[in-house]
């Protein structure tokens, strides 16, 4: 591979630019949505790379880039513990309730 970057660089070297997660807002009124990731030396370069890679066909009007290292994810092993309790609380859904026949607008 190529030579390492200049020796005094303390930040990312050319062989390990940080990874950034890319979020695109398709149009105003919608939330930013995760679309993928890019490697870039800094946030400016990350925005430019994200623009080149993920919005070549009018996919968006706004971009977020977030260092991947800043994302904290739930652990798949905790899936049951975190999400399963919701399944036995059906009374959280409107269809759980019985309304007398003929009653409207509720």
């Amino acid at each position: 591979m190529s030579k390492a970057s200049s020796s005094e660089a303390v930040g990312p070297t050319n062989s390990s630019w940080p990874l950034w997660e890319v979020f695109v807002r398709a149009k105003n009124g919608l939330a930013h949505k995760h679309v993928g990731s890019v490697h870039a030396a800094d946030e400016r370069m990350a925005i430019e790379a994200a623009r080149d890679v993920y919005t070549r066909r009018m996919e968006g009007v706004s971009l977020w880039v977030v260092p991947s290292s800043a994302i904290v994810a739930s652990d798949p092993k905790e899936t049951t513990e975190l999400f399963e309790p919701a399944a036995d609380k059906v009374y959280r859904h409107p269809t759980f309730y019985t309304i007398p026949e003929g009653v409207k607008n509720i």
Partner: protein, 332 residues
Amino acid sequence: MYTTELKDKNQKSAALSVADEDPEKLAAFEARVAADDFIEPKDWMPEAYRKTLIRQISQHAHSEIVGMLPEGNWITRAPNLRRKAILLAKVQDEGGHGLYLYAAAETLGISREEMIEALHSGRAKYSTIFNYPTLTWADIGAIGWLVDGAAIMNQVPLQRTSYGPYARAMVRICKEESFHQRQGYEIMCVLAAGTPEQKRMAQDALNRWWWPSLMMFGPPDDKSPNTAQSVRWRIKRETNDELRQKFVDVTVPQAEAIGLRVPDPALKWDEARGAYDFGDINWEEFYAVVRGEGATAKERIQARTSAWEDGAWVREAAATHASKRAMRLAAE
């Protein structure tokens, strides 16, 4: 596509083994995959699944990147501004495809640098199709029509492949591929309807690209050791031979529609099967190209390596700029 599951030099021919896996975890994994559930990066997966995916996705990524070379070759020689802008956009898309796929492979624990190093050192493989030269402008038409066409055939089912990041990359890629195929076919249409010389050029390109395009689907099923496991794990959704047959069936009428002849004397419609019978593929040639024999293979890797080396100063400058800025910001 270009997932012809080419073997790395040091890989044994048998499918990767799951003998060392925890049987309970393996059974749960297999059940999830069989139920068409997606596997995400942090989920448990057998080592063989991870390794097969890394190989398949990185080969696919390399193919997108190396695939930019034969076409890039024609950007400055496109016959007019419209064609030049289109070709430029297509080649740029392929670079993007490479990036989506490298990013998907990285979620499996391999770094971008390792993959690039494997490509440049010749350890990693890429689709054999890009080791053929692009001799005339008609080749750009044939590549878009046939090579991207074969890629689409392969990639559409991969949108439902079991590994989430790979499937999502495939969805993005498929959205972009159809323009690639249509622009290529349009080039062929124009040439086929042009002067006798132009029509000859189109026919010649079809003659040279037809068989290599069929080879893109990889070895026949009975010579493809990983197919059974890959299909069971939903890494592949259809076998090489199934996809190849589909490709022939949709492409032959497209050739006929513009007055070109598919270069296969054995080609004939089989009423009973509702499909085309076609001639035998010269697999010796395929394996020679896989082994990287031929001048073009060396040229491709050289072009990749020098692009990487020539870009070193840009990467260094960007890294230095980023770290200086970070230090300045920290000092404020």
